[in-house]
Subunit: 352 residues, 2 copies
Amino acid sequence: MSRETEAPAAMPTLEDVARAAGVSRATVSRVINGIRNVDPAIQDAVRDAVAATGYTPNRAARALVTRRAETIALVVSGAGDASEAEQNAFAAGVFADPFFGRVAAGVVGYLRPRSMHPVLMFAETPDARDQVVNYLRQGSADGALIVSTHAEDPLPAMIAAAGLPAVLFARPAGLVPISYVDLAHQDGAKLAAAHLLDRGCRNLVTIAGPRDVAAGHERLEGFQDAMARRGFPYIPVAEGSFTLRSGEEAMARLLAEHPDLDGVFAANDLMAQGACLVLREHGKRVPEDVAVVGFDDSSVARSSRPHLTTVRQPVEEMAAEMARLLQERIEQPGLPVTSVIFEPELVVRESA
Amino acid sequence: MSRETEAPAAMPTLEDVARAAGVSRATVSRVINGIRNVDPAIQDAVRDAVAATGYTPNRAARALVTRRAETIALVVSGAGDASEAEQNAFAAGVFADPFFGRVAAGVVGYLRPRSMHPVLMFAETPDARDQVVNYLRQGSADGALIVSTHAEDPLPAMIAAAGLPAVLFARPAGLVPISYVDLAHQDGAKLAAAHLLDRGCRNLVTIAGPRDVAAGHERLEGFQDAMARRGFPYIPVAEGSFTLRSGEEAMARLLAEHPDLDGVFAANDLMAQGACLVLREHGKRVPEDVAVVGFDDSSVARSSRPHLTTVRQPVEEMAAEMARLLQERIEQPGLPVTSVIFEPELVVRESA
DNA sequence: TTGAAAGCGCTAACAT
DNA sequence: ATGTTAGCGCTTTCAA
């Protein structure tokens, strides 16, 4: 009738290890947390005891006293006020773009060696946003890595106002005092312009991203500016929404109005892929008749035919840097808001 | 010189609420946890006090005493022994298939209304697998939702051996006593076969998934079986790996050997899309010259041209069901291992 | 119906 | 260098 036998797996505690090693809880704690000033012989004894008992620290107990959850939130945030069904579509749609998978990979790549793992949250509605803020406020996570899909996203401002540690992917709209990593989008667009011009294109058009997304806006501006400097003051532009479909539609419009075009700069790879598809349908060869340059160097750049010449955005490294900055700010709350801008790189493949 | 003023945001505790409401901690706790036998007037007083103080329960403290983390792990698991760089590629690659995004969306869709959020973990190496087991053992998460990419994945067996609550997406290889949700893949393949045959195709071929993945295997078997029953004992098959590229290559091979083929069943949409691309390159019209049926009804089915006729796998619902089963098993540890099989559905669009 | 009190497992002063 | 002790914020008997 003993209760002990009923317990499925009573995890050993510090106390158990201490008893096994013949020392106090405090000493065991010191060894486990790597604090020096512990006799080497005792350290060994403790380590043996840990191994013998199969001890693993209880995260809740530790979090309670240290006031650190040792957890961070990875939140994908929209600007909407969606219904529940729409939220699911949002979540599924987010991953349809290879971009988010790269962010997740970069974040996990940084966190895992440190034995940390991100909590995945979607914040596409006011309720969901409140949930995120609360989650952080109550200390369930020590900070947030935020990827916004829209410029009007109110979450960054909410987080900043609450004084919670966070780092964004891409500069926030407005003057939100919050750290972020970003890419020098304009420089990337300039790389594309130079490449297209250098290979002899003279009738260029561009498929831009949504005007209200900073990345889309800046890539367009950078491209127009670079072209203007080389003597091309006007570039036909069609706006897409970073999806394959929108790239196809934009390309079709451009082709109808400018049948003699010989080069396309698309603001991301997915739209560039769409452009290639439509170009082929209209009997244009890529790159012989029309050269196409994408942006991002995402997985579709290599799965698309022909392989896309594109501007590389090192998303994984940028995401890892976000995690690093956040951790730094969690550990040293006094640290000022900062930003890290990455430089793009031209990757020449077959499409241009 | 008071310490209090230095604290950035001392969160209110139960004690604070109790004081504000003029009752004891225990009573506040009862109200918050919805336990009856509390005077309605006091309930109101407590609720007011909660609102006034802005109280939020501290998850670590609660977890410590209830022995529940109120957290579950969402783990994407491979079978490999990859280097760190390969792990990152694995993580990014996993998301390249729209499948995983749908799983995440389904899981979050179920969890979020319950104020829970999944911890994202990748387990592609022995170390990473140990990390997952440890994470669960130490109670950082109450259970795991596991999506394996390979049949030889040792993680399910490890989890089962440790007696930890878990639910898999897809039946595990071998005889691992662990719950799972799955699709009746064979039935889905039969739907595809019947549709292709009914529309008049007589020279069918199939692009199969990897032989060592149950889903790939079963879809092929189901297709072959259905064809045999209709008098077609031999169906040319080319094996792919569920990627767009592999679909293209398989289609090219099939086309070379069977130039007169008039119908293709691909084991997933990505490969079906690849098939369409290659077919078009070879001057075949889809569906006029060659009909193509995919599998999954993922986002590419609608982004691909022509829109894919496909067999729908309700991934989001299946993922939500995984979460439900897991929660049920966490709350009632005695529950037996179970399985839930979903029925596929034919979605007719343009490609067949 | 409510309150008092005993921990959950751990860290961090403080003592020694 | 090590041990003692006092909580962290919460839930949950046990009394009243």
